[in-house]
């Protein structure tokens, strides 16, 4: 499904965090949002997945008005992998992934054969089927995030939002998560902090500073040394990575 975000403004307290941002994600497109800490990328995403309500603007997913629709209906369409966060109570990996079925279930429904199949399938996709009965809290950060991804997959989303899903993860897990998401191949909007990673995997990028979009376009159009210096305040040179052929950034 395609996502259309129009003129979103968000104030928290008296502070303008997001200032009139519009963006689009076509179906099957992987779109990245880049920007320094505090630029409003997470806040923007939170308003799209209904944790915050924006002061202005609207969000449309296909024909659905995301901001007006009930969270339960949105949860059937949008899957969210959030920032890595700890929980205090433990579940098995299987129970954790099964929670992805929540939006499709009524309170008293029990898990049907289909739900178990979806959970198995999701665990297979993230290569964690063997961990089904493990306790979630004993997993490593990368494994936990893969379980969350499996939970989101079990949700059968038509659109994905990734809110800095690879924060605090080692490079191996960062690449693993992004690759898995790419394979799912549905419209995806991701806030990322690794520019090289974003340059290699995103189809389209939006660059944010102080709550506004500075520029947008294909990775090679956005990731220029002028833009990076303006937004992140670091000098760099851009080159073509001789091994991968993707954009390389040498910070100076």
């Amino acid at each position: 499904m395609n996502l259309q975000v129009e003129n979103i403004s968000i104030e928290i307290g008296k502070k303008q965090i997001v200032d009139d941002i519009s963006l689009r994600v076509n179906s099957e497109q992987f779109v990245g949002i880049l920007g320094p800490n505090g630029c409003g990328k997470s806040t923007l995403l939170k308003s799209i997945y209904k944790v915050l309500s924006p002061n202005k603007g609207y969000v449309k997913l296909g024909e659905m008005d995301v901001l007006k629709e009930k969270s339960k209906k949105i949860a059937k369409h949008i899957g969210v992998v959030g920032q890595f966060n700890e929980i205090s109570f433990d579940f098995t990996v299987e129970q954790m992934v099964m929670m992805g079925r929540t939006p499709h279930k009524k309170l008293l429904d029990s898990e049907a054969k289909k739900d178990h199949e979806m959970v198995e399938q999701a665990l297979k996709t993230v290569n964690l089927l063997a961990y089904k009965n493990r306790s979630f809290l004993t997993l490593s950060g990368g494994e936990k995030q893969r379980v969350i991804l499996a939970r989101v997959l079990a949700q059968e989303p038509k659109f994905l939002i990734l809110d800095e899903p690879t924060n605090h993860l080692d490079v191996k897990y960062q690449i693993e998560i992004i690759k898995m998401v790419k394979q799912i191949n549905i419209g995806t909007l991701a806030a990322l902090h690794d520019l090289t990673l974003a340059g290699s995997y995103c189809d389209y990028l939006y660059l944010l500073k102080n709550g506004s979009v500075v520029t947008y376009g294909k990775p090679e159009e956005v990731l220029t040394k002028e833009n990076i210096e303006f937004v992140f305040d670091v000098k760099c040179e851009i080159y073509q990575n001789p091994v991968t052929g993707h954009i390389g950034i040498a910070y100076l």
Binding site: K46, Y49, K50, V51, K70, S71, K72, K73, I74, A75, K76, I78, G79, V80, G82, N85, I87, S88, F89, D90, F91, T92, Q95, M99, G100, T102, P103, K105, L107, L108, A130, Y131, N133, R134, S135, F136, L137, T138, Q155
Partner: protein, 356 residues
């Protein structure tokens, strides 16, 4: 360590069935023990016969003092323990889920200090003779105080933005401090030794005053609470994941949190009004059961309710028999048994709040 063999809480359906049926058998046995043991020991077989006769009419019994002790005094008391234990264990599990904090217990919303203030007010100042409230006295004061405190906590923690679990816990502590200060103030200026004794004993909890007349209403309320929360199990599970994750799964926590807390406050308030403060049940029983069956509320709640009942029935038995001719307050007993049990769980078992 073999990472693929999971210890602790992954069980087959047969294991769960064993836990539940085991708990029900233990509960029934505990009821019979509970009516037999006390200052006057009555043989189990006789107690059993008297109970069966009174409930189902079968068999022959001689009318004597044992019938009176068992049917009029001990049986309502055991039923009270059963109901209060179930309610406290249930409320503890719900509170831990709603504030996403393993330290939560049923009294977290300022209920304990609210109830104490209400009770203190009723005993030392009174609602005024002749008013409708005066005849209910201490129990009514405790219930009203408990509700007032939780209303304060719920209202103040939702002013100026979203009600978060951290705000709730902090507001609970603040209200606790404030209400305790008021109770102490009343106690200090009242200078009424007899009244202060009443309050002190009440606050340590006792089932001694349990009467048949209270049982039916309490049964209905506790049953409604149990059924309601069993239905809500799926939402409660999602709550444990945190506010944001719950919203992305389509569950709007702030609404549910308010409803769950209100119901829990009412349930806890009623138990406080009936038996006073009984600490530790609502904290340790949910943790203990979580260490056996895991965090899934569909399994956790029924088991916690059963074991909460068993625990309180036994705590009450100990309160009656541990010292000859003196009855201990039940709150003292639950803390004395509960605290070491909890320590053992934390240290020896490496308990991880639902897993290992």
């Amino acid at each position: 360590m073999d990472h693929h063999s999971s210890k602790g809480f992954v069980q087959s359906k047969t294991f769960l069935a064993m836990i539940y049926s085991g708990a029900i058998i233990i509960l029934l046995l505990s009821i019979v023990m509970g009516v037999s043991l006390g200052q006057v020991d009555i043989p189990f077989s006789e107690s059993f016969r008297i109970l069966v006769h009174k409930m189902f009419g079968g068999g022959e019994i001689e009318n004597g003092s044992s019938v009176n002790i068992i049917w009029s005094i001990r049986f309502p008391r055991v039923l009270m323990a059963l109901l209060v234990g179930a309610a406290l264990a249930l409320c503890g599990a719900i509170m831990q889920a709603t504030v996403q904090n393993p330290l939560a217990d049923p009294y977290i919303l300022g209920i304990s200090s609210g109830a104490t203030l209400g009770a203190t007010f009723a005993v030392l100042i009174g609602f005024g003779a002749g008013t409708i409230f005066s005849q209910f006295g201490l129990a009514f004061g405790a219930f009203a105080g408990a509700l007032l405190a939780s209303v304060f906590v719920l209202t103040f923690s939702s002013i100026g933005g979203k009600m978060t679990s951290v705000k709730l816990v902090l507001m609970g502590m603040v209200i606790n401090a404030l209400f305790s200060a008021f109770s102490n103030f009343i106690i200090y200026i009242a200078n009424n030794a007899e009244g202060i004794r009443t309050i002190t004993f009440w606050s340590m909890g006792s089932l001694a005053s349990a009467r048949w007349s209270e049982i039916p209403l309490l049964t209905i309320i506790v049953l409604i609470g149990i059924i309601y929360f069993l239905i809500q199990s799926r939402n409660l599970n999602t709550m444990l994941l945190g506010d944001e994750a719950a919203v992305t799964l389509g569950i709007n926590l702030s609404t549910y949190r308010r409803i769950y807390m209100t119901i829990t406050a009412i349930l806890t308030g009623i138990t406080v009004a009936s038996v006073g403060m009984v600490g530790f049940v609502g904290l340790i029983i949910p943790h203990l059961i979580r260490s056996i069956v895991g965090s899934d509320h569909r399994k956790l709640l029924p088991a916690a309710i059963l074991f909460g009942s068993i625990f309180l029935i036994w705590a009450d038995i100990f309160a009656r028999i541990i010292l000859p001719s003196v009855e201990l307050p039940i709150g003292v007993v639950t803390a004395m048994i509960g605290a070491p049990m909890f320590m053992y769980m934390l240290i020896k078992k490496g308990y991880g709040f639902g897993g290992n």
